[in-house]
C-alpha cells in the first residue's frame, strides 16, 4: 500500500515548488554527464520505432517529487531547442518526461530527420545548476 505515502510526498513537493524552487536551482555535480547510449548521432532507423537508452554518469536517477542530493530524472527533447533553464521543462510531444525514473523509452517518429537531446530535471522538472544536458544528436527515420 504505497499510494497513501506517495501522495503526501508529491503534495509536499508541489507546495515546496511553489515557494522556493524557482529561486534556488538544484545543484548538480560538476562532472555529471547525461548521454545517449542509443541511438548514436547519425543513426538511420528503419520503420521509426526504436528504444532510446538514456545514460547518466556521476549522478543518480530519482522519480519526480523526490528530493535527494545529486539525483534527477530524464527528459527527452525531440525536434526542439533547449527550454529556459530556470523553469519547469514543458510537457508536450516535443518534451517527454520520464518522471517514474525510466532509463529507456520506446519512441516512434515519422520518416525524416529528427533531433534528440537529453536534459535532466530535478524533482520539480527544473534543470539543475549547472544544467545537465546531452549533445543534441540527429537521427534519420526512413
Amino acid at each position: 500500500m504505497r499510494f497513501p505515502l506517495v501522495f503526501p510526498l508529491l503534495l509536499a513537493a508541489s507546495l515546496h515548488a511553489g515557494t522556493a524552487a524557482a529561486a534556488t536551482p538544484t545543484p548538480a555535480p560538476e562532472n555529471a554527464q547525461v548521454y545517449f547510449i542509443w541511438p548514436h548521432d547519425g543513426t538511420v532507423i528503419n520503420g521509426g520505432k526504436f528504444w532510446v537508452r538514456m545514460g547518466l554518469r556521476n549522478m543518480g536517477v530519482a522519480p519526480k517529487g523526490t528530493a535527494m542530493t545529486h539525483t534527477g530524472h530524464h527528459h527527452l527533447l525531440i525536434d526542439t531547442d533547449l527550454p529556459p533553464m530556470t523553469e519547469p521543462i514543458p510537457n508536450d510531444r516535443n518534451h517527454l518526461h520520464f518522471g517514474a525514473g525510466e532509463t529507456e523509452a520506446r519512441i516512434e517518429l515519422p520518416p525524416g530527420t529528427h533531433t534528440l537531446q537529453l536534459l535532466l530535471g530535478d524533482k520539480d522538472h527544473i534543470p539543475h545548476a549547472p544544467p545537465i544536458m546531452s549533445k543534441k544528436i540527429t537521427v534519420t527515420v526512413r
Binding site: R53, G60, A62, T66, T71, A100, E102, T103
Partner: protein, 140 residues
Amino acid sequence: MRNLFPVAVAVAAILASGPAGSTDAPSNAYCYIGWPSDGAVLPAGKPFRVWFGLRNMGIAPKGVAFKNTGHHHLLIDADPPAAGQQIPSDRNHLHFGAGETETMLELPPGKHTLQLVMGDENHMVHTPPVVSRKITVTVR
C-alpha cells in the same frame, strides 16, 4: 451468491501478492547488463565500466516509495536472494541506492560472475524478482 465474489477476489489478491513485505514489480520488467558482454575478457589492473539496463520499470533511490521502481544491486560471484529477501551489502553485493545506472569496477585476475538484481526502497527483492542474466567475465 453475488456478494461473495468481491471477497473471493480479495483473498485471491492477497494470495497472489507473494511473500509478506515484498514489493510488486511489473511482470514485463527487464533488467540486463548492457556492458560488459557475457564472456568478455578484461585487462587486469584497469577498472572497467559496468552499465545497468532496465526496461519497463524505473529507478528510485533507496528509501523512496514509488510504484514500479527500484534500485540496482550488482552481484559479484554471488547468487541473488529470493523474492522478498533483503539483499546483503558487502563486497559481493554492491548497492546503488543513490539511483546510479552505471559504475566503475575493478576485479582481481580470474573468472568472475556478474548479475544485477533490483531491490525496492528497503533493498528487498521484488515479486517477481527483477534479475538480469548472470554473465561471466575473465580478468587477466
